[in-house]
Amino acid sequence: MICFAQAVNVLHYDPPPPLKAKVGTAVEAKVPLSLQDGYHVNSNKPSDEYLIPLALTWSKGVLEPAGVVYPKPHLEKYQFSPDKPLSVFSGSFELVAKFTVPAGAPAGPAAMSGKLRYQACNNTMCLTPKNMDVALQVDIVK
């Protein structure tokens, strides 16, 4: 029998309500995330070149991705890094995904799909890097 130390999925995405997107404008979508207590993920700009950054990327879709705004990271010390603080996210936090809505986008419901790459650790162990699906419902209006 194999006994796992804890659940493997420590980062959760709560899909927001559909995003209203007017053709020809720029829109922003919140991507709410929450981490299991005791865990952190590296920020989008980790403190060490070996660390794996949090990164949200979108597949080609009806909206044009125009960047992601990451929150301000915390600088935290851990048992395995007592001297060097690490740039991390923990608890609940939000990313902001920016898009433009092309002039020719068809009106009606649509969806954007993306991948969130992250690497989580707690005080004593790290999980292997994960790629989480992120879906965003969009309601395109003229």
Binding site: M1, I2, A5, Y50, F80, C126, L127
Partner: protein, 203 residues
């Protein structure tokens, strides 16, 4: 079946499951009794020089098999300990083997090995080998393998240097199993580690 009976079955089931998972303090050595040790799965992986390394090459030696990655902070704490063990015990039929889970393989591993001056053999693992060892998803994951190629101890997460040393010495035949030792790691003073029973029955 009544609701109460179902509740009883659920509670006893959970209790049974938990009882099968043994929790240890990281500071307590936990070498299994010989009768409880199971064969460590064989693997054949290339090292940095392209030489094939098989676990069975090390039969007759005590092996510390460490799954790690360059992005794993707790692994980085343990690696200097393993360097010490390799240096101190290599002439006593002991070897450390490091299996890296870095997805980009040697591109990340080679500079790290050079920078940290690892003095033991390192290989880049494969998904197949990870699965053989219980589906390694948490790092560090470390197995201490006895001279007969059986898993004598396993640790998920950062353990203490003393725990490893005590287990190695026990298997090398110079310490009694479970005997106390003064050296402890402040890093893990309040940590409780999970020992894994590696293999499913019949594996």
């Amino acid at each position: 079946m009544t609701k109460r009976a179902l509740q009883y079955l659920a509670i006893t089931g959970i209790a049974g499951y938990l009882a099968s998972c043994t929790f240890y303090s990281a500071e307590w050595p936990s070498v299994k009794e010989e009768k409880d040790r199971k064969k460590a799965p064989e693997f054949a992986l290339k090292d940095a020089n392209g030489e094939v390394v098989k676990l069975s090459d090390y039969r007759g030696k005590v092996v510390l098999l460490n799954f790690w990655a360059t992005w794993c902070g707790p692994c980085e704490v343990e690696i200097p300990w393993f360097i010490d063990f390799q240096r101190e015990y290599k002439d006593r039929d002991f070897a450390v083997l490091g299996l890296s889970l870095d997805e980009d393989g040697w591109k990340s591993v080679q500079p790290f090995v050079a920078r940290e001056k690892l003095n033991y053999r390192v290989m880049v693992t494969s998904e197949e080998v990870d699965q053989l060892y219980g589906g390694v998803d948490h790092l560090p994951t470390t197995f201490i393998i006895d001279r007969q190629g059986r898993v004598a101890s396993s640790h998920i997460g950062l353990a203490s240097k003393n725990t490893y040393r005590q287990e190695i010495l026990t298997l090398l035949g110079s310490a009694k199993p479970g005997s106390p030792k003064n050296e402890t790691s402040p890093l893990v003073s309040s940590n409780r580690m999970l020992r894994v029973d590696l293999f499913r029955p019949g594996r």
